[in-house]
């Protein structure tokens, strides 16, 4: 019986160590509890190092405009998927998901973005594959 207790306790201890992984990377800066889904107008797409940023004006219910500064990965990593500066430009309306900053909420991590009225997600993996599939009449790979 003692060994069963030991196994159970060991299992619990193992599980309790699992979230340590989450303390690295973007978790240092952004808050998983501040997940947002908003609609706005693109002000700037910055193809900058070390990471790209998309700046989006979001108008709240009170009419106040908040400029969201959203971080994704490096421009090179996006470019290797076939995306470029013509794919998203200032003035376009978008719907995006992300996580707010731990101190400054409107400085966030960008999880997904697409243009209003479109089902195509931008800067995600496989744009070239999707284009090739569409051109050949094959089903477009799911996001």
């Amino acid at each position: 019986m003692t060994s069963k207790l030991g196994i159970a306790a060991a299992a619990l201890a193992l599980l309790c160590t699992a979230p340590v992984v989450a303390h690295h990377g973007f978790d240092t800066e952004y808050d998983a509890k501040k997940k947002v889904k908003l609609e706005g107008v693109v002000k700037q797409v910055a193809w900058t190092n070390p990471h790209m940023r998309v700046y989006i004006d979001v108008t709240g219910p009170d009419g106040k405009v908040v400029n969201w500064n959203l971080e994704l990965t490096s421009p090179n990593r996006i470019r290797r998927q076939g995306w470029g500066p013509r794919d998203l430009v200032p003035g376009e309306k978008v719907i995006f998901e992300g996580y707010g900053g731990k101190v400054i909420e409107s400085r966030g991590s960008l999880l997904s973005i697409r243009k209003v009225g479109s089902d195509t997600y931008l800067f995600e993996e496989g744009k070239e594959d999707a284009e090739a599939a569409a051109a050949e009449g094959r089903p477009v790979p799911a996001r």
């Binding site: 990377g25 971080e71 290797r80 400054i104 993996e125």
Partner: protein
């Protein structure tokens, strides 16, 4: 007693569900397009005009990043860190990682971006190999002397150390000393000392993969020498954009820490 066991298991299950329900922060970061497993033997291993095996790349992976033990094939806690090194690792916080301040990652670390070996030839033959990381070296380059010189007796401690290389048949062997103690082996803060001596053995085993046998000998931080094993994957040739290294200027717009109010990024303290 049976009830006690059931209670512990129930708590364990609740803990599991709670942990799984916790959401991690994610962001748009597509994978690197590399040669697929099914295609690693689709072409012969290329060779240079002088017959030397072509290790150029560009490659993805082949070193540590998030956790040197796991990625190098060791079990958790198997790296024989001396007590001071184990304590330092436990104290280090992700926000203090030097790399977030655009400083180099060091050997054998690789960021999830491409890198390559670039050979330089003179009238006497292969004289240098430069290891170029698209991002992992923060824009710097690492020099590997291939001209037969020895290590200096009193090297100045540097981020990349002093590297001399040679070929053993088709394996590139790189011997390095003279490291500083500033870079981290992984994002968990695994430390080392200035006594660090590394030996890398790079072997292109087929068209699409290159193995890396990495030996760490650091009497200042480890109780014994350890060998780890990594594998690099070739970036898929023929990509419309980016089948070679692209420009990267880390300091251009590094806003790391601002969203969380982090001060003194990259201090390493």
């Amino acid at each position: 007693m049976k009830r006690t066991v059931l209670l512990v298991l129930a708590i364990t299950s609740v803990a599991l569900l709670t942990i799984q329900a916790q959401e991690q922060v994610r962001h748009i970061a597509p994978a690197n397009p590399v040669v697929a497993d099914k295609d690693v033997n689709s072409q012969p291993i290329p060779r240079l005009p002088d017959g030397t095996i072509d290790l150029t790349g560009p490659w993805f992976g082949g070193g540590s990043n998030g956790d040197i033990e796991r990625e190098g094939g060791l079990k958790p806690g198997e790296l024989p860190l001396l007590p001071w090194a184990r304590e330092l690792k436990a104290k280090r916080l992700p926000k203090d990682e030097p790399y977030t301040a655009c400083l180099p990652m060091g050997v054998p670390r690789v960021n999830p971006y491409p890198w390559k070996f670039a050979m330089t030839y003179t009238a006497k033959g292969l004289s240098h190999i430069y290891q170029l990381h698209e991002t992992g070296d923060a824009g710097a380059h690492r020099v590997i002397y291939m001209d037969g010189r020895k290590h200096p007796e009193d090297p100045i401690p540097t981020w990349w150390g002093h590297s001399i290389g040679r070929f053993e048949k088709d394996t590139l062997v790189i011997d390095t000393i003279g490291y500083n103690d500033k870079f981290w082996f992984d994002s968990r803060g695994t430390p080392h000392s200035e006594k660090l001596h590394t030996v890398e053995r790079w072997t292109r085993v087929n068209f699409g993969r290159m193995t890396h046998q990495f030996t760490i000998d650091d009497p200042g931080a480890l109780s014994r020498a350890v060998t780890l094993n990594f594998t690099a994957s070739l970036i898929r040739p023929g990509l419309k954009d980016g089948d070679d290294l692209l420009e990267f200027i880390c300091l251009e717009d590094n806003q790391y820490g601002a969203a969380a109010g982090i001060q003194g990024v990259g201090s390493g303290k």
